[in-house]
Symmetry: D3
């Protein structure tokens, strides 16, 4: 059966989908409507539900699985669903949200295996212990959380997938530049975004938590390292721990982007650039996948609001 | 007896002073000289020691107390010492560096008393316990360290003095705006720069430590709060602790200035502005004290490189 | 009887209110509607009047007092009025706009008294005479005008209220830093925004005047000082007058914010920071008052578009 | 007889010149020297006077005319004088500084005539009266002052010369764009920099006055217009006066450059751009005149620190 | 007969106009409408066509000439058309788009003559040959294309008109500053925007071409000069060709505005400033023409989003 | 025998070296000295030659090979040579500059082979032909030139070495992200800096050429592609050629860094980031190699003036 993003223009359909977002807005005629984002594993599409009653607003909330009947249209060069009928999935039907969530293109087990293999290359004992301690502590969240609320890797498992992609790039680069310390770079890659499991609320209807808003994932993971050191009886002012913390604290590269320090160590600068590279490619691919050769993407917020052209070749 | 900054122009003198800085440089004629900064409790003045031998370079290092004979001159509108003779103070002479260091204008005991009184106003139990725990742990350093390597409050006790000045302003402002939470503001004031006791090396020949360079005082104090919570069995993700951390993390106001988050809470914004106000006034006063009415100060780095005029009235 | 901002959600009501703004817009269906802002002394709320006839558009203009019947709703987390019926207040009813305008929380007489007391502390004769001359000349407007069209202190009497708040802070700060010249700082505080009585049109439906747009309040008050000097036969190039002018001209702190010079005198920098502090607190409080603990305010334009969190404690 | 800037490389000479600047500095060997800038009507050249005695420092000050014997050399691709002997000019010798000052390339009388003719085109009575009043009041200074301490038009008569050049451009542009109001543009050109006669100390050893530093020429000329209106009994809040003030206040174009308002009137924007154009050309020509085709100028501070190439054609 | 921009408010009319733009959008009620921009030689006005059928959307596309019946209204202080009826012009009716396009205020022949005359002043043989070669090659487009998609000179012939205006200013300025090389400045003016004939799609429904988006007009004209040199057997690395290229490459003045080099030659800086001056004046006049004295224009995007006031005099 | 950068501190030596730079400066005592940079294949070190005669200045110019006797010292934490004696190498001695130049760490033949292999992967015929044409045309320079005058890869063969390093990274990344077009990315990598063979003067005493200053390497290589298309009879406005040009024109990433367009194609963004990554690593390694673990490098201009720490592990 076809999935959401595989429908042809003007194709009518009926399928189960997840309600990813359901924003209630008021039309200029004073009546309320619901601006839905529907989702299945192929991606997501918007659709408007006009003249929504209070009861319907309460029924069709984000996180519910629905049977959606409609037609796939185009509106201002974006795909969109004209909703013809809509009802909640019943208990007998496939109504688990996890069935419809976008997922990382690599299996969780494969990612886990790849990360575990990498840990063997972390030859510094302190770094190795800290990485293993935190991965064990947050294992469930690490493989379920997205890497962001929107922009890049904003899907279930996105955090681990972003980490694994970066590890692969990091390994290639360590081969080219033997002066790099692989143990430091890999430790940094694995931990750099781990604070997002505290900063974000989870894979569905992702929001920032209070800790995320008031402290932010960069300082949150630093707190976790601090606590891990206490638990593991590691001196958190030893040079290797300071260096590891620095590499992670500096990974946004610029103070303006929220790092409290700029990279002052070779591996910190490289980690920052690999992070940027993987995130950029994912953001561009996410938009380019939705257009045809010869067209331009929408403007991408995370790429300085640029749009991109997909060449005809 | 006169002190360093009380000498008249062209006045000859002999006195004990502390060598605050001793940078070895090479003159254009290829010979080495020492660019000294001498200091006593009245302030500091530069002086050059020409044709320094290797032995002299090793003898007159920063931190040593010397008997200095010379003449107070003016060079490019800055005071300067023409060195006539120089020798190390002997064991019998007053050779303890602490005798010559600039100090906060308030006595340590008075500052301690004022801070302790303030702690009674910190009515939130978690904040109160964290503040007392950290002040107890770092009591010695807190009252000895400067608030900076240079710029504002760069003298022994400067950290505590800056804290006390800010507390006074904070109290006045809490009176004017009853919506402010005094317990939060006072906790924030007391802890905001405490990380400097780890960031800096101490009151003499102050340098940045490795932790200071790689982590920075803003994140360092956050680590201390994290550890204090573990020790005191306080949930460090409870809302009041998150709020306290935020107020401190945000105190530089802008990401560009090294805060990983911008103020998102009323008291965080106010703390930032009080910090700025006290630091600005201290920097301006520091320069204005050295000139006569009708003159302009040197450009002050920490004030966007502006110079200031001292009116004739 | 309840006031506008005291209504519970979904509460029906009838009350007299002032029409603060009445913007005519066109709905997507091509019909006109009026986007009202209603106001009483408790604050203001928006409401839309659909399918407005030309006659209604002419009748319900900004500045008129109306009997409003409606229901208090919430729209995109902002309070809003659903208008059920609307008519102009009659001559017999309480139809004076001044009855419904937000006012400074301090009485005019009290503010006047406080400012007059302060003038005794302006010990420089030129400054004292200039301040008294201009306060006398613009006494009515000074105590009636808002301090801004929107943002902070945008209510009747806001200009005087902002001035008085700043004076209180200034006095506290002069106590902490005896090097400050209180006479200069108080003169600067009292006059710094006086040009707004020319820049703005008045307390109702406040707009910028032509002089406000083409010259601006900073230069306008400088003109008033120039004229006052001519009238009072004070040499306006004497150092004390130049210094007073400077303190006022520089009060926006940065050229980018419209000051033709940056602060070059201690009191000028302090005045700028006090101004900023009081304006910031007022803007934050204005938004925080409208939300519940645990919520975030709307983004505040004058605070670099940040939003603020109201802690649950 | 040859002038300063006409000397060939390595040419020896003796001539009377003006000491434009005489900065006393200390050499690395601890002895004082004077860094002279010598000047005659052909331009200026630097030269160093080694091992200066206190008496010589007092004798050869800026503003004195000296008999200079020396050799014209090149140092780091800049011309420079090797001083062989130096003495003050006597009473019998041509010792008036004005004989040696760079002057505008147009005669004062010609400039005066050209400005007077232009005033006939200022058909608005208020503008005409204000312009004539202020030109009469500051006639002497207007034709003697430079337009700046350094950068562009930094020579005696530079202010008037800059004004006349701009008037010529303004006239050409008014011909091309008939929508422009010539009376407004010409009034603006004539008055825009008039405040410099108060901002600067005069044509010799030009410095900023206290009024220049604390108020600045843009606001100073606005004060003069305010006073002129009082004297001439013109309503200074009439629209034509407001418009004239605006055109002048906005002439730096950007707030960052010290204008308290940005141009909001056609002629204000045009005045700003003509000012920029004339100043840029003068700065570039000033540097290009000193080099040969195929060479690059020194970096020009007022042109964003760019250097310029003089093509070989 | 009246033209579009000559209609009085509320005046009903019937006339032939060109559809300049026809954007299909969806109303909040879910139905499509067409947001038209209609145009004749007097200018353009917007109008909305509600409840558009798919057939109507296909019929009334940009570039078609229509008989429009409607009423001229005002909406948010902008003129607008209420559409009463609409049909395509027939073959017998005046249905050529060129009849309705805004045109340069100077005739094509006059512009051509003026440019040809100017070429006589280009005394450098290489520049002369390159200019003539490219003008001959792109003669048709050069006199038909606009100078921009929107902002300044966005009408048929706008490119040539902008060029001619700039030439006139350039000639005046060459008279004032004899150091300028007129041949270089005129060559630069004529060629500086010629790349727009490749960057843009043409005078109707102007869009950016792929070459425009990926390469841009500044580099495109550089390519044309490169090819011209090959065809004309001119060494494109000779100094005069390098200088000509530079003057053109640098004409946006700042790297941020898309010039790959900043002006490093006198004439390059002057060309940039003349370009800016003519474009600014055209943008301001375009908006000022649409308002009455005493009013403010809309904000002009190309003028840093400023609005302008039209004085009452 | 030891090389320049292998000498211990205070070690005396005699060896042949190349004079890389020889700047004549004037000491404060008025005498000239030569500020040398000596070089052999191990790197370069500075040394000052005091009291240089005119004859010596003419003898020891950049590019000459000398027999240098001296002592390796440290000055302000930088290595430096104290010159004891100095003479030109004779004809019989190893006096060819190429013997002493820093070289890429990979042999020219190996780089050539690697690039040639890569060309097989450029499967688009136009790109393949253009790349081969330009590499053939500039083969000698491409393998001899540095990639910059200073900063990164500023040594003979640096251009090819930088290209090869980037190709290796590009290949790894193409493996990770199969959506990338390898042919486009490799073509872009090979050509992106080829314009430097025109922008720079060559591998010894590298300077910018006039074409480099006035046009710049980004536009210069675009010209070369334009000419190649003419020679090879390829339509230079075909989409694949436009796309190739874009990828190269955009490789500095930001307009502020001299690209006339920002990346609008996936491979353009990736090319920019790989370029940045390789250049950054080279700059950091260049500085880190000169210090010991536990020390900080000098500030690196090309890395936003940051310094870097070399951890002790």
């Amino acid at each position: 059966m076809k999935k959401l993003r595989e429908l042809a223009i003007d194709e009518a359909f009926e399928m189960f989908v997840l309600v990813k977002q359901a924003d209630v807005r008021m039309a200029k005629n004073g009546k309320k409507f619901i601006a839905f984002t529907f989702q299945d594993t192929s991606g997501s599409i918007d659709g408007k539900f006009w003249d929504a009653s209070e009861e319907e607003i309460k029924r069709f909330v984000a996180g519910s699985v629905v049977m959606l009947g409609g037609k796939r249209e185009v509106y201002q060069s974006n795909p969109q669903i004209k909703i013809l009928h809509l009802r909640l999935a019943t208990e007998e039907e496939p109504n688990s949200p996890s069935l419809y969530m976008e997922k990382a293109p690599i299996q969780r087990e494969e990612m886990m295996e790849e990360i575990n293999q990498t840990i063997f290359d972390i030859t510094n004992a302190n770094w190795n212990r800290i990485v293993r301690h935190l991965l064990t502590q947050y294992q469930t969240e690490f493989f379920e959380f997205p890497a962001a609320k929107r922009n890049h890797h904003a899907f279930a498992g996105g955090l681990a997938y972003h980490t694994v992609s970066m590890l692969r790039i990091a390994k290639s680069i360590c081969k080219e530049y033997p002066e790099l310390n692989p143990a430091l770079l890999y430790s940094g890659v694995i931990l750099h975004d781990l604070g997002k499991v505290i900063e974000l609320s989870g894979p569905i209807s992702t929001e920032y938590t209070l800790a995320g808003n008031l402290v932010g994932h960069i300082v949150l993971v630093n707190e976790e390292i601090t606590k891990a050191c206490q638990t593991l009886k590691i001196d958190d002012h030893s040079e290797d721990v300071l260096v590891l913390k620095h590499v992670i604290l500096a990974h946004h590269g610029l103070l303006e982007y929220g790092s409290p320090v700029r990279p002052k160590i070779l591996e910190a600068e490289v980690l920052h650039q690999i992070d940027n590279l993987d995130a950029s490619i994912q953001m561009m691919l996410g938009s380019l996948k939705q257009i045809e050769p010869g067209d331009y993407t929408e403007r991408i917020f995370g790429m300085d609001n640029r749009n991109f052209y997909l060449p005809r070749m």
